[in-house]
């Protein structure tokens, strides 16, 4: 097991290196750069732009810039944002709470609700409930989040006046209740799509389990339906969900760009877009590396957990 973990970690390092190289190359070779936004500033001269570029080290060859960045990263220095002069880890950290709050709530809702719906759909396959949920899931999956978010704002904020039209909290208030009022709409909008996804996966997974021999055996030896479902079906049908959850981890921390924009939620998705727009290379690279690390960790953790709870799988 230890050998397996070590070799996976080794592979991960190589992958990270490749990701960082490609990311850096694509970013810096794209035309423009962090100073192009000043080009039309009245009175700006090419000379002044070149001077600023030299001061920021942007005039060096891309390879030199890359190895300089990498050298700092290895010793834990993620660099400094061009945009606000803060360290990259600070910038990412300052968006972490908002992201975790929103994505965490949405994930809790979607996983619990989605799994429940999926199990019931599978147990009552081809029932009215199953068909209704299938249709609803298809609708939820096809509605663009942007549109759904705006409709929600239109109905619940502008017409009914029940909920605020956006933001994470009211400046000057910031009580738990205030946060909750602001959280409801964006979390619900985000969860809507995820509930649909989770319920579909869960339904399929449960159906697979239901048809297995051990379920028939359990029924045959006279166990109550309740016991069969809870002990034999649900537990086993959740196993594939662990892998799915592992893949979901980087999403939870990566934020949701569209929902964050519609509800002016200061999360990671918008940070990424803003940093890209500003060609804030250090922050973009920081986010890229962080999400690459999360993908690798999420996958590794899912594989390990599945191996631990499923005796059929051996990693060595």
């Amino acid at each position: 097991m230890l050998r397996y973990i070590l070799s996976r970690l080794g592979q991960s390092l190589v992958l990270l290196l490749i990701v960082s190289f490609i990311g850096f190359a694509v970013l810096t070779l794209a035309p423009g750069g962090p100073l192009s936004q000043f080009a039309l500033s009245p009175g700006m001269t090419q000379e002044q732009i070149e001077k600023i570029a030299a001061q920021m080290g942007l005039d060096r060859p891309v390879a030199v810039q890359y190895f300089d960045w990498l050298r700092h990263l290895v010793v834990g220095d993620w660099g400094t944002s061009y945009r606000d002069g803060q360290s990259v880890l600070h910038v990412i950290g300052s968006h972490l709470f908002a992201t975790l709050l929103l994505m965490g709530s949405a994930t809790v809702i979607s996983v619990s609700l989605g799994s429940t719906i999926g199990i019931f759909s599978a147990l009552r396959r081809r029932s009215g409930f199953d068909y209704t949920m299938t249709v609803l899931a298809m609708i939820a999956l096809s509605i663009p989040t942007f549109w759904f978010g705006l409709i929600a704002i239109y109905v619940f904020s502008l017409n009914l006046g029940w909920l605020p039209a956006g933001n994470m909290y009211t400046v000057g208030d910031g009580s738990v209740l205030d946060y909750l009022r602001h959280l409801i709409m964006p979390a619900a909008v985000l969860a809507l799509v995820d509930v649909a996804i989770w319920s579909r996966y869960m339904r399929t997974s449960t159906l697979n389990v239901i048809n297995q021999d051990f379920v028939r055996t359990a029924r045959a030896k006279g166990l109550t339906r309740r016991r069969v479902v809870l002990k034999h079906i649900v537990g086993n049908s959740l196993v594939p969900m662990i892998t799915l959850a592992g893949l979901q981890l980087p999403m939870v921390l990566g934020g949701a760009l569209v929902t964050e924009t519609v509800f002016t939620w200061p999360g990671m998705g918008r940070l990424f877009l803003d940093s890209l727009g500003y060609s804030d290379y250090p922050v973009v690279m920081g986010l890229l590396m962080a999400s690459a690390i999360l993908v690798l960790i999420g996958n590794l953790a899912a594989d390990l957990i599945v191996a631990l709870i499923d005796p059929r799988i051996r990693l060595d």
Binding site: A30, P31, G32, G33, L35, S36, Q37, F38, A39, L40, S41, P42, G43, M44, T45, Q46, E47, Q48, I52, Q55, M56, T80, R83, D84, G85, Q86, V91, S94, H95, A98, L150, I153, Y154, S157, L158, P164, A165, G166, N167, M168, V171, G172, T261, V262, F263, T264, P266, G267, R270, L271, L273, D274, S279
Partner: protein
Amino acid sequence: MTKDKKHKQQPNRRQALMMMGAAGTAGLMGPMAIGRDRAFAANADASGQLVLAFSQEPTVFNPLMPHIEVDEGLYYAVFDPLFDFDPSGEFFPILAAEVPTVANGGISEDGLSWSLKLKDGVTWHDGTPFTAEDVKFSLELTMDPDFRSFRSTGYKLMRNITVVSDTELTWEMSAPFAPMAAILASTYIIPKHAFDGVADKNNTPFNNAPIGTGPFKFKTRMAGDHIELEANADYHMDGPFLKTLIIKYVPDLNVMYTQFKSGDIDVIGLQYITPDHLAEAETLKGKVVTVAGTATFESLGLNMTRPQFQDRAVRQALYAALDKSSIIEALYYGVPSPTETYMPRQSYYYNPDLPKHEFSIDKANAILDEAGWMRGPDGIREKNGVKLVFSNSTTAGNHLREQAQQFMQQTFSQIGVKMEIKNLPPAVMWGDYWMNSEFDSVVVGLNALAGADPDTSNYFMSTMSPALGGSGQNTFAYQNPKVDELLVKGAATFVPEQRKAIYEEIQMIIREDLPFLPMFQYAVIKGWKDDVTGPAPNVNNRIDTWNVRDWKRG
């Protein structure tokens, strides 16, 4: 987006030079007159909270470092310049006790020696007294080779900045430069003591916790969301009248408008209400919505080094075939107003007597026939082997401009001119392609004034074209010796009335030469709740918070 960024205030109008005699008697707008000292200040009644929304996020808090327009929205709240422009283009003093002019002796007749008197008793937000040393420090920092300075224009002419006393300083100019006053009006003064013992001036605690002398103190920033400012009870002018000012970042304009409608936003700032919402916005209850002209003008810019554009007749014909009013009405909801020049109509230096554009395909055809441009077998006109075919570029993804290009393409085809559309992503478009004049023609929004001073040397002086071996923004590669001469004269003339004549003549010559085909002066749709007073359009400043000290609620 890039193209909308404007910076640097330059020159401005009535340079104060002449007219303000004694400390601020002249030319100040009512509520701002000089007497606004602490003695009169109603600072005690600062109350309430106001949420001002911007669609970009202010992140650069040292005003002398490279920044964008939206950052200045914060600077006006936290910092003060020495003096500033009111909406009519007059200077009024802020940190200065009086605005230096030739008349009051603040500027010598030849424009080479300046002396500046400062207000007494002003303090920084941390309680440290503000002195002439801070002004000297700020001015010199712009030229510090190790400092990532945003601008050098003007500052690089300053010599021997000398502190005479805590409230007075003098300097020399290596050449007379009338726009200097306007540059100073956009120079926010920063505290010297915040940089004491700092090794790297580009990276100081000040950058994230700015200290100013302005009406509001920086309290907190929630990255990606908002900045909270609180009233500076010791402010040296009247105001502030708000206890808390929130600068809220709302990246999407539809969302911003929705939050304005729902009441979450009190004042809608940069980039304002989009024209498609104007009709509805005007009917909103409890809101004030107003259209205000900006200093940016939209034009079809020509690369004057291209053989197609050498003949003035071609440029005149293209202008006649430009269906401006359809573009303005159909695409921009009639919000901007047509213009003949780069000068905003609100400016003191605007020339109202320029020939009026008239859309006429027949006239355009007649001009080209007469000039000897004959249609070839493919219907495209040519003369001496030069065909009237050229490309036109602008920011890819700017839908309004892309549609405007199609209008142009259509009407131009009716006069035997083929315009090919070749749009590029913003970073490419406004990079070397623009700066080195690699385009044939462009659709661009420019603020050639760079503030309220009428000096446009950077854009129209022949030596300012990178394509012709110069360094500047003359990307149309426009060359006219008469304009060069007038621009030099105007920049060395300190009396507003004399300067007006010079700049009116320049506008006339450029209108005749047509290095760019002027389309319209941009206008924006501003809005605020009707219990808010204070916001006032000011074409001479880059952003609405220029008078945030006066804003109040109720």
